[in-house]
């Protein structure tokens, strides 16, 4: 039985080009995030009515927070907007949780395989995992705060406590990864090569 032509050359090359697994904790965080997003989506559908009733009750108990004036024609649109955004927050958590979980897995795999500098690799992994995993939780925080803090204040809290720091971390990680990959390409090009 003869070996396929070129197998002696392709086997080591294939081993060198193989994708490497990211650290287990990164994968655990990503899969956990996707699982939470799935549970969130299922709960959102299953308990939609209960959640809406609860949020409406909490808002009616806090007329000053929501600027309710006791006139149906004025208050109903205010409550409707808040309930719509409350629901949107849950939906966006579901969507971003699934999306960012996948982004973490892919970005971590690319980082582990192609970023050579250990410190940079660790930094990118940490930023993309923590930033990507916590960013979607901001939507959950926003949604949960709407009945208690009103639309504008709840959004400001979620923005400054979660979206900006953790979303910023994920964005920074992606740019660092982009820069690292660009550098890798530049270094591999032979001197004097014509692009």
């Amino acid at each position: 039985m003869s070996a396929p032509r070129g197998s002696a050359r392709t086997a080591p090359a294939a081993a060198a080009d193989a994708w490497r697994l990211p650290p287990a904790w990164v994968l655990l965080v990503a899969v956990l995030l996707i699982a939470c997003a799935e549970v969130g989506g299922a709960s959102m559908v299953q308990f939609k009515l209960e959640l809406s009733r609860w949020a409406r009750g909490q808002m009616l108990a806090r007329p000053d927070v929501h600027g309710l004036v006791g006139v149906r024609d004025v208050d109903e649109p205010v409550l409707d907007e808040a309930l719509t955004k409350f629901d949107a927050g849950l939906r966006l958590f579901h969507l971003h949780g699934e999306g960012m979980g996948t982004v973490i897995v892919v970005a971590a795999m690319v980082t582990t395989t192609l970023v050579e500098a250990p410190a940079l690799r660790r930094a990118i992994l940490l930023l993309v995992t923590v930033g990507g995993a916590v960013y979607p939780v901001g939507y959950l925080v926003w949604s949960a705060l709407i009945p208690y803090q009103g639309l504008a204040r709840s959004r400001a809290i979620a923005e400054w406590a979660v979206w900006i720091p953790f979303g910023g971390a994920a964005i920074a990680a992606m740019w660092l990864l982009t820069a690292a990959l660009a550098l890798r390409l530049l270094r591999r090009r032979p001197a004097g090569a014509v692009p």
């Binding site: 600027g67 409707d80 660092l176 530049l186």
Partner: protein, 219 residues
């Protein structure tokens, strides 16, 4: 060269500017309540000449329920006049009756807005926010009948629209390049006072319109 490139890329990432504050959080636009939805159904049925449909929509609809609930504050015989108009296929009279009812709804909201704006229990900034919500609510009703009002009483329609423009300027600031003096520069207390006056004017004009257009009114 590569170190410089790396440094440049790093600096570019760090100085890329503050994170965008406008995270996607979904859009919302006000929906019709059951009265305004019923009004639109009635209006489209009348415009299409489907008087039997309009009659059923009126008799069984939320608009009539609200009309009967507010009977005391409405011109006497309004319900009877609208039903008679629908039965006799008098589209103009039916539209006029519906217009009177919606104008009365907007008038009552404007009166309530003026009352709440004058309440000193809340700080002026909070009252201004309340005024903005009332303004949107009054406009949602008036907007339904603006065309009908313009056809019947152009002067009243113009006065109301000008009042809404002024109120918009008070609660949101003037449009760029408008004159006279920008109302946004007003202190909240002064803005509340002006907004209250605007609501009073709207209520007076709509009250006059309701009185003139009511069934049995002369002129």
């Amino acid at each position: 060269m590569t170190r410089r490139l790396a440094a440049a890329l790093g600096v570019a990432v760090l100085l890329a500017g503050p994170p965008a504050p406008a995270h996607h959080v979904g859009a919302w636009s006000p929906r019709d309540n059951e009265v305004s939805a019923n009004f639109k159904q009635l209006k489209f049925s009348l415009q299409a000449g489907k008087l039997d449909v309009a009659r059923r929509l009126y008799v069984e609809g939320a608009l009539r329920r609200e009309l009967l609930a507010r009977r005391a504050a409405l011109p006497p015989g309004l319900d009877t006049a609208i039903r008679r108009a629908l039965e006799t296929c008098d589209v103009g009279a039916a539209e006029g009756g519906l217009m009177v009812f919606v104008a009365a709804l907007a008038r009552d909201l404007a009166r309530e807005a003026e009352r709440q704006l004058a309440d000193p229990a809340d700080p002026p900034a909070a009252r201004l926010a309340t005024g903005r919500r009332f303004l949107e609510a009054v406009w949602r009703y008036y907007n339904l009948i603006d065309f009908a009002v313009t056809q019947r009483d152009a002067r009243a329609a113009t006065t109301v629209r000008l009042a809404f423009d002024e109120a918009e300027g008070i609660v949101r600031g003037p449009a760029r390049g408008t004159s006279p003096a920008p109302p946004a520069a007003l202190e909240p207390a002064a803005a509340v006072a002006r907004l209250g006056a605007v609501f009073r004017r709207v209520a007076e004009v709509l009250d006059g319109l309701v009185a003139r257009a009511a069934p049995g009114a002369t002129g």
